[in-house]
């Protein structure tokens, strides 16, 4: 293989991997928001991921200072996307923990209460097509 082919292969591999790491938290967000269950997620997962992604953005800025603009741009968009998604999940989980504490419930009891309230609300509604398409709820 020539050097150009190798470079092309490596670039395409890294962009596929970057896409997968970027959308990592999307199914989790869909699931958490549709079932209103955050009790099984560890809060440290979100905290550590958020911190790590902020640091990766910092690393991207050092690459910018070295004029490696292509690498830096990839690193920064990917990690800021993941940081935003994990921040959303972190805030959602913290809200649930606080509300559960106010009602003197455990977090799982509070989530169950929320989801049963949602079921009661939707009991007369026709199930939408979108709701049947629910592979992420598994």
């Amino acid at each position: 293989m020539t050097a150009e082919q190798i470079t092309l292969l490596l670039t395409s591999l890294s962009s596929i991997a970057a896409i997968f790491s970027a959308i990592l938290f999307l199914p989790q967000i869909f699931k958490s928001f549709s079932t209103k269950n955050t009790a099984d997620n560890s809060i440290f997962l979100f905290i550590i991921t958020f911190t790590a992604n902020l640091l990766w953005i910092g690393f991207g800025i050092t690459l910018l200072l070295q004029d490696k603009i292509g690498d830096a741009a990839n690193l920064i968009w990917q990690n800021s996307f993941v940081a935003i998604l994990s921040l959303i999940l972190l805030i959602y989980k913290i809200i649930h923990i606080k509300n559960a504490r106010k009602l003197h419930l455990t977090e799982a009891q509070y989530c169950l209460k929320l989801s049963s309230e949602k079921k009661q609300k939707n009991i007369n509604k026709k199930p939408s097509k979108f709701r049947n398409f629910s592979w992420w709820k598994k």
Binding site: M1, A3, I6, T7, L9, L10, L13, S14, I16, A17, F20, S21, I23, L24, F25, L26, P27, Q28, F30, K31, S32, T35, N37, T38, A39, D40, N41, S42, I43, F44, L45, I48, T49, T51, A52, N53, L55, W56, G58, F59, T62, L63, L65, Q66, K68, I97, T106, E107, A108, Q109, C111, L112, W135, W136, K137, K138
Partner: protein, 162 residues
Amino acid sequence: MDLENIIIAGLIISTIAGVLSAIAFIPQTVKSLVTKSTSGLSIGFVIFGITASTIWIIWGVLSSVFASALVNDSSSTTNPAILAAQTAAPIWTNALVLIWSLALLFSKIRNINISKKQNLTEQEYSNLQVTKIYYKHKDKKSLHSKIILKIIKSSLVQKEEL
């Protein structure tokens, strides 16, 4: 700042970030394995994690294999230690992520299968499991039991005897 300092600062930041990314899945895996309750965890999340880390490992291995073939004009450092650290980092961080997310996938699939066999939803099965673990450790005073009770505290639904 001159260029070498920026590169070293970047290396330090990326090492810390790599360590954090590598250990990010550990709390989730420990929690899922201890509580045996994974109903709130999306299987897409776990599968994407496995796919991403596998591709990153392949990428890391290929780029260190072909490092000599690529005469890289853009690489602005000639220090061999820094270059070695830069190429090794994606391999070991993603290998750790891969191991922990495989454990997560294993526990998720096991829970789905067992709950199907018992004709329960996954959520009902996990609630039963957490309650069982709670009763096993409730009155014990060892450190082990205390840690387990602390981990399962947020997943506990039923405090009454079954």
